[in-house]
């Protein structure tokens, strides 16, 4: 579960600060390392910088100071296109809102990142998308449009899309924020399986202390700084 001594961690933030041009500091001086197979909860009060940190870790935003290393590579040296390519192939995002494209079926939504990456031919891409939908219990939803699905199903389709290109790292920003307890637990069941059975790393921002407790590690933020980092059950 942990990296060997020579291996760089999957993801590392080194003294990362993100300040807006207006002078607002979103996160300050954050240093964190994430190994393969970790299940991390990021918690903290509203406005503490959880989302900001997640966008930085997910290469959607760039730090104003410090650096983010993905698999040992300093991402500050990469241009926008290279970052996009990394997001496409290595990362998967899940947000509070599902962000499914409303004109396309679940299957087509999941196919978007697969087709964009272009590593699979049409048949294999379809098989991959169907397999993902299947493991999330969405076989029947494949041909349905997002508006025809329940909130929980939509969020699971969004997770399937995040998993489309077999990413090493899944980043989720309050993925259960719009879900009831049962559906929220189901989402965490999926995350747990991704970590335990498939060895992926999941970093999830959550408000819910019960859900946070299901993770292996918990990073707590206050005012853009890490105030505690340790086992979640503590």
């Amino acid at each position: 579960m942990s990296d060997g001594p020579a291996d760089p961690p999957l993801l590392a933030a080194e003294r990362v600060t993100r300040t807006l041009p207006e002078g607002v500091t979103l996160v300050a001086d954050i240093s964190l390392r994430f190994a393969r197979g970790e299940f991390v909860a990021i918690t903290g009060p509203s406005g503490s910088g959880k989302s900001s940190l997640l966008y930085l870790l997910g290469l959607l935003d760039r730090p104003t100071e410090g650096r983010i290393l993905l698999e040992g590579r300093d991402t500050a040296e990469l241009d926008a296109e290279e970052l996009a390519a990394l997001r496409l192939a290595r990362l998967g995002f899940v947000f509070q809102f599902h962000f499914l494209l409303p004109e396309f079926s679940s299957l087509d939504n999941v196919l978007i990142p697969i087709r964009r990456l272009g590593r699979l031919d049409a048949a294999a891409a379809r098989a991959q998308a169907m397999r993902l939908l299947g493991t999330l219990g969405l076989d029947a939803a494949a041909t349905k449009l997002p508006e025809q699905l329940s909130g929980g199903m939509r969020q699971r389709v969004a997770i399937a899309r995040a998993l489309a290109n077999d990413p090493a790292l899944i980043l989720a920003d309050e993925p259960t924020g719009n879900l009831d307890t049962k559906n929220a637990a189901a989402v965490f069941d999926i995350f747990e399986r991704l970590v335990r059975e498939e060895g992926r790393t999941v970093i999830v921002v959550t408000h819910d202390p019960d859900l946070a407790r299901r993770c292996s590690r918990r990073v707590h933020l206050v005012d853009g700084r890490v105030v505690s980092d340790g086992p979640a059950s503590g």
Binding site: S51, Y55, G58, L60, D61, A80, E81, A84, A85, L86, R87, L88, A89, L91, F93, F95, Q96, F97, F99, L101, P102, E103, F104, D108, I112, P113, R115, R116, L117, R161, D173, E174, G177
Partner: protein, 414 residues
């Protein structure tokens, strides 16, 4: 690329009605362009073919483009000598060494040449006098440079040689004089020579000035009538390839020094009008397409605005700025293409509709309907222009979309 097309289709499908409206706008612009171009070009091509048919392609005249320099001016090239009111010393001599020039021209590939002496004369029949231009021709050669044989309603051009002092005149002129085929009339030249001439042929070109004021006689006969023996004051040329007329005319003028005019130069007035007509046509249809382009700009902008979330998620999934830009550019181009295709169909329908119109009056051209040019290149031009305009219209919103920061959107949507 297939993926971008699929995404573009999905996004446009959401705004089906608006998309249809802007597609239809493009189609109208394209259709009008095609129909108007067919009308105008049809008319212009007909007009030009008439000119090319009737008039010589190149006319060499016994004039210089500029008056010959005077001795005094030559002697003082830098001097402040201005000479005005110079009168010609003697009457125009005609084209010098016309025979040699004719031989040189006839040796050229694809060129037919004919010597001509034109001059005024008064035709007198009974108590009627009509002033006309007599064109003295060599029938064999002239048949090669002009279509008068085709326009002749009675007699043949060779009949000039079979009859002493034969004359061919327009039907309208014959009517005015009250003469018919075989009648003998008196021709009086400004030099005072009088010949009695026999009408051996009649023609009708449809062009009033020719039909009422022109007659043809043998070159030799006209030389006698005009009292200018062996003089030729025009060499008329006909080319196999009309488009060579202007450059060839310049070449001949440079070589011989005689003023040489192509049909284009002689009809400059009409051709200038055509240029203006075309400019008006292109600006009007251009304006329609511009409006259509605004329609496309509008819909792409709307889609970009409405699809902020989709753009953000696509970018966070790993789509590059280029991808997003292409995605919306493709939408504009697809709308432009649909409009172009629809416009071509509509344009073709409009042309066939115009072709059905009958004026109910016999026009001088012998046709009572629109003369339409059906040219596939016009379709290509209109379509190309429409797609280009649509593409340009889509560029601005597409760039805006590509610059969108997904973080801002994702934050706002939570």
């Amino acid at each position: 690329m297939r993926l971008l097309l699929d995404l573009a289709r999905g996004m446009l499908a959401r705004r089906r009605r608006q998309t249809l409206v802007s597609v239809f706008g493009v189609a109208l612009g394209v259709a009008f362009f095609i129909a108007i171009a067919a009308l105008m070009r049809g008319f212009q091509t007909y007009f030009i073919s008439q000119i090319i048919d009737v008039a010589p392609h190149i006319t060499i005249k016994d004039e210089m483009r500029d008056p010959p320099p005077q001795a005094a001016a030559l002697a003082h090239p830098e001097g402040a000598v201005a000479i005005a009111g110079v009168r010609p010393q003697d009457r125009v001599r005609g084209i010098r060494a016309a025979g040699d020039k004719l031989a040189m021209l006839e040796a050229m590939e694809g060129v037919a040449a004919a010597p001509v002496l034109t001059g005024q004369a008064l035709l007198r029949y009974g108590s009627r006098d009509v002033s006309v231009t007599i064109v003295g021709i060599d029938p064999v050669r002239h048949a090669r440079v002009s279509n008068i044989q085709k326009d002749m309603t009675h007699g043949r051009i060779e009949d000039l040689r079979a009859t002493a002092n034969g004359l061919i005149i327009g039907e309208a002129l014959a009517q005015r004089l009250g003469v018919g085929l075989g009648d003998t009339i008196a021709a009086v030249s400004p030099r005072g020579v009088t010949l009695s001439m026999k009408v051996v042929g009649l023609f009708r070109t449809g062009i009033q000035t020719l039909d009422q004021q022109q007659g043809y006689a043998l070159l030799k006969v006209n030389q006698v009538l005009q009292d200018r023996s062996n003089v030729v004051n025009q060499i008329q040329l006909r080319l196999r390839d009309v488009t060579r007329a202007e450059p060839l005319a310049r070449e001949i003028e440079a070589r011989f020094g005689d003023r040489t005019e192509s049909w284009e130069e002689q009809n400059k007035n009409f051709l200038t009008v055509f240029v203006i007509q075309n400019a008006v046509m292109y600006s009007v249809t251009g304006a329609i397409l511009l409006v259509a382009a605004f329609g496309i700009y509008n819909i792409i902008s709307t889609v970009v605005y409405e699809k902020t979330r989709d753009i953000a998620i696509l970018k966070s999934l790993g789509f590059t700025e280029r991808d997003i830009q292409m995605l919306f550019l493709v939408q504009g181009i697809v709308a432009g293409l649909l409009g172009a295709v629809l416009g071509c169909v509509l344009g073709a329908v409009m042309i066939e509709g115009l072709a059905q119109v009958r004026f109910g009056v016999e026009a001088p051209s012998g046709s009572d309907r629109f003369i339409l040019a059906r040219d596939w290149r016009v379709y290509l031009l209109a379509s190309g222009f429409a797609v280009l305009a649509a593409g340009i219209a889509a560029v601005i919103p597409a760039r805006r979309a590509s610059r969108l920061d997904p973080v801002q959107v994702v934050r706002g949507a939570a």
